[in-house]
Point group: C3
Chain length 261, copies 3
């Protein structure tokens, strides 16, 4: 039986995560339920999209990634399942799959027929009533065909997240995510970095790329080759986001470090 991962903005104070798990445990008995994150900021589709990109292929082929950050619940957005790199996404069609799809294109998608979900179908809790039943269906090894009609993968919603660019010797990117530690995860790929690099963000120059946080003094800024494959900006024992006053989407420029730098 395939495992089901859970990524939501439901928090850990209310019973909502429990209701979703109850549906999964009832409909897919024996499936491992693996909590990824339940403190995604409310309605933060992009933060959850980043989470999915991080975890997607760390799990075995066949894993079902249930992701419910769904501010448009009950409205026009579709409920979908989508297959990428032989793992399944189940959730709302609001762009959650954007970053996974860039790395591993979606090969198949289906619109979920709500008829096979929980009864009565609520207006505001499709995580429980629509997505959990579809995830359980897949985890139990049943055919995706029964979930609903095909959707052309190119027609799925995507978030508008700028790609990094090369501009002569310069690399131009953006802050993709600010994590719990205040680290700034950028869109600049590690493997684009020159041997000696420096970065500029929010008017501040950060020299060199460090191999560990303790390469600088506590409280100092540093660059690292991030564990997600892109450049990160950190403050040792501190928060780069606060130090620089920088939020998601801030611009960053990376250039080769001169010999005098």
């Amino acid at each position: 039986m395939a495992a089901i991962t859970l990524t939501t903005d439901y928090g850990s104070a209310d019973g909502y995560v429990g209701e979703v798990k109850g549906v999964l445990a009832t409909r897919a008995p024996g499936a491992a339920l693996i909590d990824v994150a339940h403190e995604v900021a409310r309605g933060d589709v992009r933060g959850a999209a980043w989470n999915l990109r991080r975890i997607w292929t760390r799990f075995p082929v066949g894993t079902i990634h249930l992701a419910i950050v769904d501010p448009g619940v009950g409205g026009e957005r579709l409920a979908i399942v989508a297959r990428s790199a032989d793992r399944w996404f189940v959730g709302p069609d609001n762009g959650l799959i954007t970053l996974v799809d860039r790395a591993h294109p979606v090969r198949e998608a289906r619109r979920i027929r709500p008829e096979s979900g929980e009864r009565p179908l609520s207006d505001t809790f499709h995580g429980r009533d629509v997505f959990a039943p579809a995830a359980a269906h897949l985890a139990a090894g049943k055919s995706p065909d029964e979930i609903g009609p095909s959707v052309e993968p190119s027609r799925l919603e995507r978030l508008d997240i700028p790609e990094p660019e090369r501009d002569g010797p310069l690399l131009r990117g953006h802050v993709l995510h600010v994590d719990r530690f205040g680290n700034l995860i950028t869109t600049v790929p590690n493997d684009w970095l020159p041997v000696a690099a420096e970065a500029e963000i929010a008017g501040v120059r950060i020299p060199g790329v460090s191999a560990s946080y303790d390469a600088v003094e506590p409280g100092h800024l540093l660059l690292t080759r991030g564990s997600g494959g892109t450049l990160e900006i950190s403050v040792r024992d501190g928060r780069a986001s606060e130090r620089l006053g920088v939020h998601r989407d801030a611009e960053i420029v990376v250039r080769p470090a001169g010999p005098e730098s």
Copy 2:
């Protein structure tokens, strides 16, 4: 082997949840341990009672719901197991079972003999020493008779939560719970609502019942048929609790909406 769900106010910074799980893993090897919520507000029995009501029958028959919000630990309150709708509650007898019992009356209850728990028995951590062993006992399929003497279900503690009332064409209820999103979950059943309804709470009139949050503009108040079976008040992309300055137990009146509303 039955699954065990966990609902506590232990948080996720200290090892307390881990100690409880260690006892469960030792005494009921193979039982699935399913986290529901660990950020219930400290000592908030009523919040946890609401959580239990939400999850109770979403899980399969035989599930053990371990719920530990226990401000009276070490005092006079009983330690109990209670059966309702063929699922088991394990926890303190302080009213946690109140809302479950209203929906699915408790059919059997037993007082837990502490002798079969962890040694030494602590004064202040019965979650680990008393409740987890009893939950493991049930999950392992052993007889409830061995847990301890019967308690008459009618003698269990209940919280004093007012029932909704019909007053001619008016429906009178209260705020039962304020969730993570600032939604106000009321006691007014969805199926009592007239076809066209409006509500008044804290001196504010809210017209109509919406089928999705995006039926109103961001920042606006709306009513929804709540996913727990009762009317809810929300602010799209905001917090109704803060907008209205309303807490648990606030009164709400629902009336049929006139043609001019």
Copy 3:
């Protein structure tokens, strides 16, 4: 298959815990993954050391305790596995094992060869790339010999945490941990306490040891025989840490209570 417990400071907003679990699920399919705590304060090695001490032997023999609070990641600190009381620790060699080792001495330790971890090996996320693969290796029942060369247990890092002392009739200790509830967990063993005891901390005298929180009025200070085996200071329905303005490492003195006290 042995269970793997997880104690981290990764939080529940980002996908980091999910990446670790993905590696575990891929490399040790079928191993139970048991969340202990993910909201350990950032870089708080000592808080996590206390968590480990609490949970260590509550889990069955063979359990793998994966603990990742790793401010020195990428630097000089070793990556280790260590065996104590027939359970395994996997994590950085930064003192996380200190309190476990005092209670149950480490009998075997090995340095983890990073070659057997995830590829590419990141500079800053050894939880995923180094520790999770080693934990999965052990959970799958493979030989510790293959993990890497032996390390003499006496050479592992230990935190400098003062031991409690007897000074004639006086017991001198410190605050070891402040928990989510503001309880002050001290280093003074319960079984050192005289039949009638009183404590002094931050210039405040607290008389008597209570068997439950409701032995005092709400808002009052009290002493309890703590569930971790040492004296605790609490405020009923309040926070002792704030009431006393006391932090970790504050001194406490316990003396026999005189007949007039």
